[in-house]
């Protein structure tokens, strides 16, 4: 009975619990058992909150909370702050920190009856595309254990793809929800910037970070999206507007008459053949379903990666300054003689990994007097041009589409010493972060190497529902919601 429960979708799970065919505690326990069984292999979870999960499941069973996802287990990326549950952001510098408060989305999920199983692995402070920059070791891809489940949110994607949880929460600064979804055959959405509260999301790059859902089906993702989205007065950048009708769009899935723009710039050299083939098939499928497909040029997308690697590290260099050993987390070198400044320096030297240090230095340099205009200032101008590319495109099309990432899951160790190769994994996902619009990765089959391929849909600000409409249409036409049935190696 246990393996069966872990293979259900979120919708199916919630229905069984609501119908009293199974209790939420049984569902939680089945997943906790599955985690105990395979997490040693996947390294998807950094911390398992057995007590918290069972307590919440009991509340659901007692009828204290209800809703379309009541009793459904979830894997929470460790960059989201949880009261009384360790939160490390994948870094040694926060090892042992027990937060005194909950993120807004954690409160919302609790109120919706969602059962958080634990905190998932990630690249340190969400800086990476493979989880190899986690201070706690890389997570593994359930499709092939020698490969990455993507990053930074590889722990959540591995957990969802490996049936450790039907739902996951990721955060996406440059693709950290979508790229892991693409390489694990799962669905991942970066909502409109400001659509989901950032209160309690440990900041990497404040103007780009956005939390969002991971799931095995488009409808499951939409239901979770609807739970976590909506205005939060504790986040000044939160948008005070109605949540787009994502669930209705996912249930509907009708793309007839929709204008779909294929981004011309995201093809050609560097794109794996197997990825290109599946992507083009998916575009043809949408056309077959009645969508009007056109090619669209977004000339400034070519500069997105460069702009991103100035803006994100600049903000990160400031956001990560607070890890100074004074108030919480790691403290190194406090021998009674060392000054506060010496302890700060020793702690940061010991507590941050190489990639985090690389980005702090990059950002510090980009913001320095005399360089600001040439780097940070210029990058902001590029950001404006990219936003204009999107706005221009959306005058003629309803959504833009592209491969989510140029290749299928790469092998662990393959790119870890080559930062530029690693950065290319986010080539197609970064523009939406710079613009602030929503974007989704939905599976579109397997490449000839037997690994999943992600199809990216990008929509205008606050038109998140369009993602789900396109995603659901594609999912139904290709049966991609059953793709993960092929994951049987665990």
């Amino acid at each position: 009975m246990t393996p069966e429960l872990t293979r259900l979708t979120a919708v199916e799970t919630a229905a069984k619990i609501a119908a009293r065919e199974v209790t939420a505690v049984e569902v939680a326990q089945a997943h906790l058992d599955r985690i105990a069984e395979v997490n040693g292999t996947l390294n998807a979870f950094l911390h398992i909150d057995t007590d918290g999960a069972l307590t919440q499941a009991k509340r659901v069973d007692a009828g204290e909370v209800e809703g379309p996802l009541a009793g459904v287990p979830l894997a929470l990326k460790d960059v989201i702050v949880t009261r009384n549950v360790p939160t490390t952001a994948g870094s040694k510098i926060l090892e042992g920190w027990i937060p005194p408060y909950d993120a807004t989305i954690v409160e919302r999920m609790r109120d919706a009856g969602i059962v958080v199983l634990g905190k998932t692995n990630m690249d340190e402070f969400a800086m990476g595309s493979s989880t190899e920059h986690s201070a706690y070791g890389a997570a593994h891809n359930p499709w092939d254990l020698e490969r990455t489940p993507g990053g930074s949110g590889g722990g959540s994607s591995a957990a969802v793809a490996g049936f450790l949880a039907p739902l996951g929460i990721g955060t996406d600064t440059g693709g950290s929800i979508r790229q892991p979804a693409a390489v694990t055959g799962t669905v991942g959405t970066k909502p409109t910037y400001g659509g989901v509260s950032r209160y309690g999301l440990i900041a990497f790059s404040s103007s780009l970070d956005q939390a969002g859902p991971c799931a095995r089906t488009v409808l499951d993702a939409a239901l979770l999206h609807a739970v976590i989205a909506g205005h939060d007065p504790r986040d000044s950048t939160s948008i005070d507007a109605d949540v787009p009708p994502v669930v209705d769009a996912a249930r509907d899935g009708d793309v007839s008459g929709m204008r779909v723009g294929v981004v011309k710039e995201f093809a050609g050299e560097g794109y794996q053949d197997g990825v290109t083939v599946r992507f083009e098939e998916a575009v043809a499928t949408l056309a077959g379903l009645g969508a009007d497909v056109v090619e669209v040029s977004c000339p400034h997308f070519d500069y997105a990666l460069a702009a991103y690697y100035l803006i994100a590290p600049s903000e990160a260099s400031s956001n990560l300054a607070r890890y100074d050993a004074m108030r919480y987390g790691l403290r190194v070198g406090d021998d009674g003689d060392a000054s506060a400044e010496e302890v700060m320096a020793a702690t940061r030297a010991a507590g941050f990994g190489a990639e985090v240090k690389r980005r702090i230095m990059l950002g510090t340099y980009a913001l320095s007097a005399g360089y600001y205009d040439a780097y940070y200032g210029q990058a902001q101008k590029v950001r404006t041009l990219i936003t204009r590319d999107f706005e221009n495109a959306f005058t003629t099309v309803d959504v833009l589409v592209s491969p989510t990432t140029p290749t299928t899951a790469f092998k662990l160790g393959e790119r870890v010493d080559d930062p530029l190769a690693m950065y290319l994994a986010d080539l197609c996902t970064i523009p939406s972060n710079l613009y602030g619009g929503p974007a989704m990765s939905v599976p579109c089959g397997l490449s000839d190497d037997g690994l999943p391929v992600g199809f990216q849909v990008m929509a205008p600000v606050l038109a998140d529902d369009r993602l789900y409409r396109v995603g659901a249409a594609l999912e139904r036409a290709t049966g991609s919601d059953r793709l993960l049935e092929q994951v049987t190696n665990l």
Binding site: I202, R327, A369
Partner: protein, 496 residues
């Protein structure tokens, strides 16, 4: 002081001073700038904190609307332009008392710009131009334990109180103030005094320099008289009383003048003011200055104060202190010079309160300006911090008017009250101070005349100028308890 008396005026005969003042004002909002924590002063350490003002991972700021309104009011009272759109910026530097290791401040987009404040010194009006008024968050407070002086040097460990972290702070920056000449120190003091009064009238801050809710940095440079190229300036930090503002300017004028005279150059640096000696010492020099890596704060949305809001606030502004003071002078019969003296000595409100407590305007002014300001200087404290209340001053003044105290006795009573001996009547009682009676006075007058027969003879011959020494002798004999006017009458009467 290492410099000689008079050096200040001597230096300013040859050099033109250029002043600049940066004033930090803690706003009196109920809650902090970016969270809901209380701003109340004096709570136990780290009891008024939350994830946001502690800078915990994941926390976010939300701007306190009241702080924006207070800042706009300050800008309007200082005749500034109010920005239609501006942003907060992050000022990045590592410091243990700064929870996020950056301060949310404003950089090139302040809320208020281009204003002025007029002050009068020695009958001469000076317009101090305001470059900018911006809003930022205060830092926490470090306490260094184990050292001799509470300074970091020699301390065994440090403690940090974050109650102050995140309290809204407004920074008011002047343009370089030129043309003050010998009045530089007084203009600096008059500006801070005037600013303090404006802020207090607005009700935006309790402006208590001794508690740090009003703090001042004094910039000063000298250039040869007649020159147009500004000299190198120093920035003297945390000058925390009106007197100190004046003293800091005097000291820097003298110190920089001495260097320039000796052919040395003034180093551009931050200096610390020492209340005890009235001197400054070097802090951080420009060469070691931080690069703050300012950039727009991405966790906050731009500020765009609506024009209706700004005009609504403009309509609520109180009348400027100058108007209020003119009315006060009119009612109480003070001249413009009286007014300026009282304002610049920082006693105008005290005089007003003393009048309200029952003393006459002339006596009230006389007590504060003629006696208590001097006592405060001797005791090295702000006049407002003297340990005597306006009610006590009014009571002493009343006893003086009724003839129960002579002026000399009254001053002795005031001194005793300031010394903490007790309330006015108790002090008089315990010292047995009372005006000498007629009989006692006659005895003293006769004795004094008998002791100096030659002077008595001069008086008899009609030499009124000879009365003085006899009055002095009578005062001495009565321990100051004699009414000098009555003593004079008796001397003339008894000598003949």
């Amino acid at each position: 002081m290492t410099t000689t008396l008079g050096a200040y005026d001597d230096v300013l005969d040859r050099y033109a001073p250029v002043l600049g003042l940066e004033t930090h004002v803690e706003l009196g909002t109920a809650t902090k700038l970016f969270c809901g924590c209380s701003t109340a002063f004096g709570a136990p350490p780290n009891t008024q904190v939350c994830p946001t003002c502690l800078g915990l991972p994941g926390s976010l700021p939300v701007t306190n609307e009241a702080a924006i309104e207070f800042t706009v009011k300050i800008g309007l009272a200082l005749h500034c332009e109010i920005a239609t759109w501006c942003r907060f910026a992050r000022k990045n530097y590592f410091y243990p008392d700064m929870p996020k290791d950056y301060q949310v401040s404003q950089y090139d987009e302040p809320l208020c710009t281009d204003g002025y404040l007029d002050v009068v010194v020695g009958g001469e009006a000076f317009r101090v131009e305001i470059e900018r008024v911006h809003l930022e968050e205060d830092t926490g407070k470090s306490l260094h334990v184990g050292g001799a002086t509470g300074r970091i040097h020699g301390a065994t460990h440090s403690l940090v109180d974050y109650n102050r972290a995140g309290i809204p702070l407004v920074e008011i920056v002047t343009r370089p103030v030129q043309g003050t000449g010998h009045k530089a120190a007084e203009v600096a003091r008059a500006y801070v005094t005037e600013l303090r009064d404006v802020l207090r009238d607005l009700g935006v801050s309790d402006v208590r320099m001794e508690q740090g809710s009003l703090r001042c940095d004094v910039n000063l440079s000298l250039m040869p008289a007649g020159a147009t190229q500004l000299g190198t300036r120093t920035e003297t930090k945390n000058v925390n009383s009106l007197r100190s503002v004046e003293r800091a300017v005097r000291h820097e004028v003298e110190r920089q003048g001495a260097r320039l005279d000796a052919g040395e150059r003034v180093v551009q640096e931050t200096r610390h003011f020492h209340e005890d000696s009235g001197t400054t010492s070097p802090g951080r020099s420009k060469e070691e200055a931080q690069d703050y890596r300012y950039f727009p704060e991405p966790d906050l949305v731009p500020l765009a104060p609506a024009r209706e809001l700004v005009e609504g606030l403009r309509a609520t502004l109180p009348e400027p202190p100058s108007v209020r003071r003119a009315a006060f002078a009119e009612v109480n019969g003070f001249t413009a010079i009286d007014l300026e003296q009282m304002v610049n000595a920082g006693v105008l409100d005290l005089v007003g309160e003393t009048i309200a407590a029952g003393a006459s305007p002339t006596k009230s002014k006389g007590w504060w300006l003629g006696y208590l300001v001097g006592r405060a200087n001797e005791l090295d404290v702000e006049v407002s911090e003297l340990a005597i209340t306006v009610a006590q001053v009014a009571r002493i003044s009343e006893l003086e008017d009724s003839g129960e105290l002579t002026n000399k006795l009254a001053r002795q009573v005031a001194d005793a009250v300031i010394a903490g001996e007790g309330d006015v009547d108790a002090v008089i009682e315990s010292h047995g101070w009372k005006v000498a009676g007629e009989d006692e006075l006659i005895v003293a007058v006769d004795a004094a005349l008998a002791a100096q027969p030659d002077i008595a003879a001069k008086i008899r011959d009609g030499n009124q100028g000879a009365v003085g020494p006899i009055v002095g002798a009578v005062m001495k004999a009565t321990g100051g308890a004699a009414d000098a006017t009555r003593a004079r009458e008796l001397i003339l009467e008894r000598a003949s």
